[in-house]
């Protein structure tokens, strides 16, 4: 009896919600072109960004990006909180081949050569590409988030290698960069409030040539913030203790 009730409940739920979203997905109303036309003319002059998508998510609708950075910060802080006391409980049977902690790293015999090549040779290239994507966000496709995530994966590559333990892969340093970039981001956002151009306004709204710098600044800060926080989480996930 319990089984059939379970099936009835699920089919009812699926049926109702399928019927609820089907008309919305299949609606034949023509897609609005007003905002696309406006951006085609004004995006460059307003925000100085050639890439209209960056001009939206860092210029017109910058508050969404701030909200998104907050979601990233809170969820990574929460995950780290759970990881830390997870680490405490399951100290012994952690996945050996996957861990970074020096004493748990497999001896050289087991380590495949691939990991060495990837981390030492490929890591810096990916790092450079990550910074490129971050800095050219307002011209070519890319921007703060994408660049940051690529930088994070580069840092993880470097952390995996044995002889590439630089300052960059030290979780303390990464944590500090993350905190500083978050503080600069909030100051940059609120600075607009006091310069009449409003919250997340562009404080240096003088000439149009200067206004692009605000987007570049935001791109760099968000890129650093995203990059370092995801890198810290991945390193913590792989068992690298603080400051290993």
């Amino acid at each position: 009896m319990k089984r059939t009730l379970f099936i009835i409940k699920i089919t009812f739920t699926l049926l109702v919600l399928a019927l609820a979203i089907l008309p919305v997905i299949l609606s034949s109303h023509p897609w609005p072109e007003a905002s696309r036309d406006y951006l085609y003319e004004h995006a460059l002059t307003d925000t100085g960004a050639v890439n209209t998508v960056s001009s939206i998510y860092l210029g017109y609708r910058a508050m969404d990006t701030l909200g998104e950075t907050l979601v990233l910060l809170v969820s990574i802080t929460g995950t780290m909180g759970i990881l830390i006391n997870l680490g405490r409980e399951s100290e012994e049977e952690e996945a050996v081949s996957f861990s970074l902690a020096p004493e748990k790293r497999p001896t050289n015999a087991q380590r495949t050569h691939l990991l060495e090549v990837v981390s030492s040779k490929l890591g810096p290239v990916v790092l450079l590409f990550g910074f490129y994507v971050m800095l050219y966000g307002h011209i070519s496709p890319g921007g703060g988030f994408q660049g940051g995530v690529i930088v994070a994966s580069a840092i993880v590559f470097l952390a995996l290698g044995t002889e590439t333990q630089t300052k960059l892969t030290n979780t303390n340093v990464l944590g500090r960069i993350e905190a500083l970039s978050f503080l600069v981001l909030i100051i940059a956002a609120t600075s607009g409030v006091f310069f009449e151009s409003g919250f997340f306004g562009n404080p240096i709204k003088s000439g149009s040539s200067l206004s692009a710098n605000f987007i570049i600044l935001l791109n760099i800060i968000i890129g650093l913030k995203v990059g370092t926080s995801i890198a810290v989480m991945c390193i913590a996930m792989m068992g690298g203790r603080r400051g290993h």
Binding site: L22, I25, R36, N51, V53, I56, Y57, D64, T65, G67
Partner: protein
């Protein structure tokens, strides 16, 4: 055309069925991920109907795609990944506490433990 949207609708339906019906909590997080990917696909597919060039202003760009849904979906993808990361951390913590990944055994074992 309409067939693509029906495929996206089916993808969303599969993801939603997994969230509701799957017993394994990590399968539920897979379902959430797929549901998120389906909605992102829907926005971008419909947003790109009105043009045929990438939304990067340059010479020779006359008929560009609607950049607004693309900007929105950047946010939605990152939020989806953050929520997935948190859900998986909670799922691992539940596994460590109860030794099982099936939602019924987990709530059974937790209910008895005061």
């Amino acid at each position: 055309m309409v067939i693509e949207r029906i495929l996206i609708f089916l993808l969303a339906l599969i993801g939603f069925t997994a969230i509701v019906g799957a017993k394994n909590i990590i399968k539920k997080v897979f379902g959430l991920n797929i549901l998120n990917a389906a909605v992102v696909l829907l926005y971008i597919l419909e947003g790109s109907r009105i043009g045929d060039q990438a939304p990067i202003l340059g010479e020779g760009i006359t008929n560009m795609v609607d950049p607004v849904p693309q900007a929105l979906m950047l946010t939605a993808i990152v939020i989806g990944v953050c929520v997935t990361a948190l859900a998986l951390a909670l799922a691992v913590r539940l596994y460590k506490a109860t030794g099982s990944l099936e939602i019924d055994t987990i709530s059974e074992r937790l209910r008895s433990e005061h």
